[in-house]
Symmetry: C2
Subunit: 475 residues, 2 copies
């Protein structure tokens, strides 16, 4: 915790009220730590505006006093994007008091929400309208829409519905110069000049503070089925994907992969019955289909499709959900893997993507490159294989603490070199924040990064907005 | 035609060869006219680079000589975005020689194409792979991907697949400073810094020259059915939309509206048999569904769905395609409307959008506002009602020339005031170009436009890139 100039503190208090500013205490300290408490930044205060106008005034005040601003939502990101840097001297602007669902339009299939609305809150509000917001991530209860949009979050249904950016119809945001850009009209088509909303989506709060968002929503599926499949090789996984992404393309929402060593970790560390009872194989696929149509029997369609892949030998064994609770049980296995890894010991997480046909090469070459460096590890590749996105995790078998910073960097370099060579991304869905800054060049050219800096400098010439994120600490 | 400095001309010829530069003649004159030959700009030369490197060198040369650059593709836009302005003194950079389909990846469902590839060329190349690119517009044979992406084109299938921006996985472009940004890795997920591709998509060539694009493609539907429906009121249209956009949501690709006065124009001006034989009513809906699944009978599903809306009285009459030729016949009616309008006389076209529930108010209030100004006209509202997007056209019943510039402006002001009041867009899919520049403020705040200018100035400080488009002629 650093100290703010007294007049700055007074100005902020006059804007949001004394209860909206904390310049010390546990609340500020907690806000400076990342979700898992592994990283700590510093700030002079945390400020809780509760109106758009208050956000505007806070930003103007910070600009006048030369203070940096770290926008903060649910703080569930994994790359230190929503906590201040270790050398921070500014404020944290927490958006959680902007938490009104402004509008639900069932015919237009759109909502307008404040940035501080959580994803779970939106899901709940849509329930009575038989609508869904198709982005659902592990942290639904805590993550806020402003953060979800700022980080262009992914999740389990990207294959069908796209990333968060594809749900965004428009945003309202306060720019670093304390002006407000706004497009919350929830239009499906609107080609009037640059799409500023798409620019701020994924900009991780470095170009302005998102205060409101207009989003697409969808009719709630009335049928959903999940299947858990054993497959004997990664090539079979790609072949199966290639088939079902065509035959089931109207219905397929998720195509997730789990490795056998991950499932063994679940069996070891998580109570019985979580891992579905299928024959052991090197890879497992969690596949989900849904439909809003009452005119078809999706269970029959899925069974027939899977049966054909038994016959051609692609699938070794399968469990198909016969009820909603069985469907949830299948997904529990996916969630249990994250938990089991944590129980097993220290984990280095990576979030990489390649083109789908390059997945086998990514796994083979990535694994070999890491095992060249360190041997006593489990390499657990799981995730959204239908989007070309794997969480390429390295779990140490030995006692904690296992990974020095030097090990981390050596492993990163080894894996990201493979990713680069395959034309992939070193951050498929988690963003850059502060933690992936030093490895951006594996996936972006200097010219690309220079162009980003030009835009950053144009909108935020003093670099106050989320300093140290995406770019180096002095932009 | 203006004259270029001789040394500039020599430099350009040295880059693309003498046959790639025309500084006079019919080719240059034609390139200065818009698609319908109604507007004419001026330029000193048209230049045809055939490699990325040549584009880079042309831009560097223009920068060195202080020449403006108008990027030009198929020139099928309707807002004078791809011809130079009337006071232009620079060059036209035509991308048509960059016309290679670089890559088709059927498993990743992606393509990488040069900017000069036409949409029809891409459709043809995908045919043997059983894949489609879901953007299809009236000018498929001529419009080029670079222009389609630069203008974020829409078309008939936006309801299902989104706009062009939703198909874009990445772009390669030459910025005004002659550096190249590039993301043609065709990744589904890639959250590494700002999404420059999304920024250039829809920027109408004002931020740089798109030279290549990575696009999503989709499995070719194996079943497609179209229906042409009579409905007695616009409220019934919205009610029907509200129903089928849920029940058919997995399959619905198009929900287009045609007004009775438009269908009467077709009957008068286009050979017999084009207008489907349904009972006359005030509105007609052209609806299309498709599926890549062999496990369902889409015709049955569509028939059952429509039958239920006969029973509840929403639909008065219907024709459903029983064959591919009948399906094409139904679409011919949609295309014939554009032709029939032209035959009828002078037309003022508008391309506006509102939220879907506001469509009836848009039609009523827009019509009343226009009829207040001018009476001897047909107001023909047709188009992509399922996206909230109407082509709100005013066809004069009297002899040509009918609409003075003053009439045009009065009608625009009347209609756009209604659109603004309903929170709509004055350019849903056609963009701003030069023709809609003066009305941007009906749909964007000064703050929004200022932010766009900041970005424009950051990337193109001298304003050489497509000068006069989106912004005023001096930015």
């Amino acid at each position: 915790v650093t100290e703010l100039p007294l007049d700055a503190l007074e100005t902020l208090k006059s804007i949001v009220g004394p209860s909206g500013v904390h310049d010390d205490g546990t609340l500020l300290e907690a806000a400076c730590k990342d979700y898992f408490g592994r990283h700590t930044g510093t700030a002079g205060a945390i400020v809780f505006p509760d109106t758009l106008q208050a956000v505007v005034e806070c930003i103007a005040a910070c600009d006048a006093h030369g203070l940096d601003i770290t926008p903060q939502g649910g703080k569930t990101g994994l790359v230190c994007g929503s906590i201040p840097s270790a050398t921070g001297t500014g404020i944290i602007l927490n958006l959680s008091r902007l938490n009104v669902i402004r509008e639900i339009d069932p015919v237009n299939r759109s909502v307008v929400v404040d940035a501080g609305v959580t994803v779970a809150q939106l899901h709940d509000a849509l329930q009575p309208h038989e609508l869904i917001f198709p982005i659902s991530i592990g942290s639904d209860g805590e993550c806020q829409i402003g953060g979800v949009v700022s980080t262009n979050a992914g999740g389990h249904s990207v294959f069908r519905y796209g990333m968060t950016r594809h749900q965004v119809l428009g945003i309202e945001a306060v720019l670093p110069n304390a002006t407000v850009i706004s497009n919350l009209r929830a239009l499906r088509k609107d080609n009037v000049g640059y799409d500023l909303s798409q620019l701020l989506c994924g900009a991780e709060g470095t170009l302005g503070i998102i205060t409101g968002v207009a989003l697409k929503v969808l009719p709630k599926p009335i049928q959903t089925s999940a299947a858990f499949l054993s497959l004997t090789s990664i090539d079979a996984v790609i072949q199966l994907y290639s088939k079902v992404s065509t035959t089931l393309s109207d219905f397929l929402t998720a195509f997730e992969i789990l490795p056998d060593n991950g499932v063994q970790l679940i069996k070891r560390h998580v109570p019985d019955g979580v891992a579905p009872a299928v024959k052991q194989a090197s890879w497992y696929i969690l596949l989900e289909v849904n439909s809003a149509s009452a005119a078809i029997d999706l269970g029959d369609i899925l069974n027939a499709e899977l049966a054909s892949h038994f016959e051609n030998g692609l699938i070794l064994d399968a469990v198909v959900s016969q009820s909603e609770s069985q469907r949830k049980q299948i997904w529990k296995c996916r969630e249990a893997l994250v938990f089991a890894q944590g129980r097993h010991g220290p984990v280095l997480s990576h979030d990489v993507s390649v083109r789908i046909p390059c997945i086998p090469a990514l796994i083979d070459r990535g694994r070999a490159a890491i095992l060249d460096i360190i041997q006593d590890v489990e390499i657990i590749c799981f995730g959204h294989v239908g989007d070309g996105n794997l969480h390429f995790n390295v779990a140490h078998n030995g006692p904690y603490p296992a990974f020095s910073r030097d090990w981390q960097h050596r492993i990163e370099r080894a894996l990201y070199s493979v990713v680069q060579d395959l034309g992939g991304s070193i951050s498929a869905e988690h963003g850059i924040g502060e933690k992936r800054r030093h490895v951006m060049s594996y996936s972006r050219s200097d010219c690309d990064i220079d162009a980003m800096r030009m835009i950053k400098h144009a909108l935020d010439p003093n670099g106050h907005m989320n300093r140290g994120k995406i770019f180096g600490s002095r932009t």
